[in-house]
């Protein structure tokens, strides 16, 4: 009933969800900020890549680099000009500001691009696949998405645990005031974190936009999947987030196999189930 192909499909889908989740998890870990516009920012990135490739005719890879830079700068500016003013002990203002941003981006995209479904064009790459034994074949695009997710987690892990920037991130997350005594400028650390979060979202947007159609209204759903992956995996653990994404992907594909209408619902139910039995996620970080 649930064959190996379903499992493979679910795992591959999980790669995309993990990519959605990384940026969200990153800024929550460093600055306790939950960005409700995360999903819409992913879509904004997808549309930017679409415009750059179709209107300017720039190849996808170059466009990716360009948009990564643009979104990093946008994230940096977003933190310095907007979010920085509302971060504090009260959780309400940052939530409301990012929620407002979500509405603005979503409807802004609708104004500019209309409600039609779009897709990123990646030429032959989209439809090619590698054949495994036993009649199984894996689409190259989904496989690349999973590999990209693994590489992204490994890179972020490297930055976090092997560089001075990563130490600054963790120190600021532990105690922003004492971190300043070390010469760490809290404001730039936060701005860089948001910048990286949006840069990673561009990668998420591309792996997603190649394999599925998107329209301006689907941002919030990306936010929810990202969030589910983070919570299932366990707060504060990047590899956990990858596993969380895969669990979510599996839940959705298995649900869809049973009844096509149940795909999204199964993901939500899996999330609620994990919350019930393991409220701190599958791989919670050791830190309190």
């Amino acid at each position: 009933m649930i064959g190996l192909d379903t499992v493979i499909e679910g795992v591959l889908l999980g790669g995309v969800y993990a990519l959605f989740a990384l940026g969200l998890s990153l800024i929550f870990g460093i600055m306790r900020l939950v960005n409700l516009a995360h999903g819409d920012l992913i879509l904004l990135a997808a549309y930017l890549v679409l415009s750059v490739t179709t209107v300017l005719g720039i190849p996808l890879l170059v466009a990716t680099l360009l948009v990564v830079v643009v979104m990093f700068v946008a994230g940096f500016a977003l933190q310095r000009l907007v979010l920085e003013r509302v971060l504090g002990d009260d959780i309400l203002p940052p939530l409301l500001v990012t929620f407002g941003l979500s509405i603005v981006i979503q409807n802004g995209l609708l104004l500019v691009y209309g409600a039609d479904s779009r897709r990123l064009q990646a030429g032959a790459f989209e439809s090619s696949s590698v054949t495994l034994g036993g009649g199984l074949s894996i689409g190259l695009a989904p496989l690349t998405a999973l590999l990209t997710a693994i590489v992204a987690v490994a890179l972020l892990q490297l930055v976090f645990y092997r560089t001075s920037l990563g130490r600054a991130f963790r120190a600021t997350s532990d105690n922003p005031q004492i971190a300043q005594l070390m010469g760490i400028n809290e404001r730039s650390v936060y701005a860089i974190a948001v910048g990286i979060s949006l840069a990673v979202s561009v990668i998420a947007a591309i792996t997603f936009g190649i394999r599925a159609n998107f329209d301006p209204s689907i941002g919030p759903a990306r936010l929810l999947y990202a969030f589910e992956a983070v919570i299932i995996g366990g707060l504060g653990s990047l590899w956990g987030t990858l596993v969380g994404g895969i669990v979510l992907g599996l839940a959705q594909t298995i649900g869809a196999r049973i009844n096509p209408e149940w795909q999204i619902l199964s993901g939500h139910l899996a999330f609620l189930a994990v919350l019930m039995v393991r409220p701190r996620g599958l791989f919670p970080s050791r830190r309190p």
């Binding site: 130490r167 600054a168 997350s173 004492i178 971190a179 005594l181 070390m182 010469g183 830190r287």
Partner: protein, 234 residues
């Protein structure tokens, strides 16, 4: 003479609450000074004002002639003024070695202190370099806190109650390191509640009481009684 660190008429506030009233304070290059006072006298507030965690008028604090009273903590440490905060305040998600490394984040001043010279002073930290700081004993944690501050190669080191919660024998061990730090020309301010301990290792002292300096001078010149009344206000 103009001292390396000069504080004039410093008033410090937490919101509406005034913690310091017209403090005058100075520290020469390479000098060691004690700040003593009872609970809540304002000792930590004074150090926080120097380190930039409590902001003030620009010219209330001058460091090497520069007004730094309203500078950010992150830029003050780059100028060469480092604080060992009360209660150690290590970063729990960093290892011992990472806690030391992050002390050098500013990165502008590189000698004489680096990982190897800090490890030479506190050899036990080298053995435990990969441990989480939460697994260390109190004394070892204090060594990390001091080492972390030294990694920025300060010309003034501010130590807030480095004896807090430690066994007397460990306190002695730690205080024995202060001369080695001064060898390199680093000035030191130690804040202590333990009067005798502080006075034994310093050239001069300031006594604070309810946010005001009540007595200052050389340890040898002040009588027990004078210190006692300056400390308790009787």
């Amino acid at each position: 003479m103009t001292a390396l660190l000069n504080v004039t008429a410093l008033d410090a506030f937490y919101g509406d609450f005034q913690a310091l009233f017209g403090i005058d304070f100075e520290l020469g290059a390479g000098e060691a000074v004690a700040v003593i006072g009872a609970n809540g006298a304002g000792k930590s507030t004074l150090l926080k004002s120097l380190a930039g965690l409590v902001r003030n008028r620009p010219d209330a604090v001058r460091f090497a002639g520069r007004p730094i009273g309203d500078s950010q903590a992150a830029s003050i440490v780059r100028l060469g003024l480092a604080l060992v905060p009360e209660g150690r305040q290590l970063f729990p998600s960093l290892t011992v070695e990472e806690n030391l490394l992050i002390g050098a984040f500013g990165g502008e001043r590189t000698s004489p202190w680096d990982l190897s010279s800090v490890y030479r002073m506190f050899p036990v930290l080298r053995e435990r370099r990969r441990s989480s700081v939460t697994e260390l004993s109190g004394g070892q944690q204090q060594m990390v806190a001091i080492g972390r501050a030294l990694m920025s190669n300060p010309s003034v080191l501010l130590c807030d109650e480095i004896s807090l919660g430690l066994a007397p024998i460990i306190v002695e061990d730690i205080y024995r390191m202060l001369p080695r730090i001064r060898e390199h020309g680093t000035g030191i301010v130690v804040v202590e509640q333990d009067i005798a301990r502080a006075l034994r290792s310093t050239d001069r002292f300031y006594c604070l009481q309810e946010g005001r300096v009540t007595l200052t001078g050389r340890p040898a010149d002040a009588s027990q009684d004078a210190i006692h009344s300056a400390y308790f206000g009787t």
